[in-house]
Symmetry: C2
Subunit: 269 residues, 2 copies
Amino acid sequence: MNQEFLSGKGGEREKGRAMPTRHLKLTVAYDGSAFHGWQEQPAPLQVRTVQGVMRERLQKLTGEDVSPLAASRTDAGVHARGQVVRIVTAATIPLDRWPQAANSVLPPDVAVREAVEVPPAFHPILDATWKTYAYTLLNSPVRSPRWRQYSLHVPYALEVGAMDQAAAFLLGTHDFSSFCAAGSGARTRTRTVYAARVTAAGPVLRFTITADGFLYHMVRIIVGTLLLVGQGKLRPPAMAEILAAKDRNAAGPTAPPHGLCLEQVGYAK
Amino acid sequence: MNQEFLSGKGGEREKGRAMPTRHLKLTVAYDGSAFHGWQEQPAPLQVRTVQGVMRERLQKLTGEDVSPLAASRTDAGVHARGQVVRIVTAATIPLDRWPQAANSVLPPDVAVREAVEVPPAFHPILDATWKTYAYTLLNSPVRSPRWRQYSLHVPYALEVGAMDQAAAFLLGTHDFSSFCAAGSGARTRTRTVYAARVTAAGPVLRFTITADGFLYHMVRIIVGTLLLVGQGKLRPPAMAEILAAKDRNAAGPTAPPHGLCLEQVGYAK
């Protein structure tokens, strides 16, 4: 459907400056703690989702259903610093005012960081060429109230060097079936990992991974497996064997969602 | 009242190893967001306080009223990384197990980081020789869901260098009446500031201040005044004039509590 020449309606119409419909690429951050993930759920489920909140609040701002579509359907509890959300709008809000206008109507746990105009053909999922996720671990005998919503507390000692070595076995193009939860609808389970590191800053450990795409629960299963390496229950080369097995049962448990954050989504142009 | 030779009761008694009462100095962290401050309120007020939660939960652990007494009565919404809390207990929990034992009964937004035994004469308020507070500002055109509970969002540009210069005027011994809210019961308003800096790491600004003591709302009024300096509404030397005025009306507004954190409390021995 070509929406480009539909006139604007709602919030900005009274100014008599109806604009052609624009497609905007928003960079969005959220605290996933109080959301049941990105994606809106069917009507009988009254759950709070980022997509639902954005649709509802931006409708108040623009008078339109802006049809928010995200690069990644993050799970319940997962955070985002650089989610990409495409919206379609005829509102006359200038581009550089969009973040503040949107943030004035969005709740405190969601914020638009940036807005740029994209061609109508832009598709946030299909056009994404890479994504970076980070998983944060607090490796300390005692838990931290401050970090509790953004990290997994690991009270036992972890060998960071071994975990980083293990992560290196993920680099390149592999069948990641061993790191894919049941219920994935992916046509192919082959993905290319461009970067994967485990770094430490004091008690805070971060696993960051960049790939051309991710399977269902892929990062969280990788983290659950790296934790076995960190405890010395697996040696780093075991990662290669687990990949080769192409069997979910070969990998470790699924780490909980609250340590995970979608950092960035990359596009070719 | 000499409690030293009272025998233990409650949780540990069944082991038949009643111990002399010990006085413990706990280092405590909390997220102040969901607390009405440290101090318990009179009975009709059913508000959640850190002192009330610690008393109740540690009673479950030990069977005793451990009489938690803190170095600083932090206000509603203020956080702590290094609050010092003295408790009195006859429980036989070994000292190095105390943090984990306490954290197993405390809610997620409070944690004991360390426990050391102190003489019965130790008084967390009277014996404190210095305290350090930090106030965090997020200086960015757009707000951040992640930082919202731990920083004040300042969307306009701030001159960090000018704020740091202004903070230097606080160093030394002064009458801080201009930075003291009405309602303070302090006998003297003279305090000695040992360190006061404003630093920036990207968009995150931190004001840290160490002094031998603080008046009611002192840090928050200082921050409210430094924000005027950061905006260019006051020049750094104005801090000296404001100090000299000894008048609350000479200083800036009181910054909100959620950017403030009690970092550390120091003792001579």
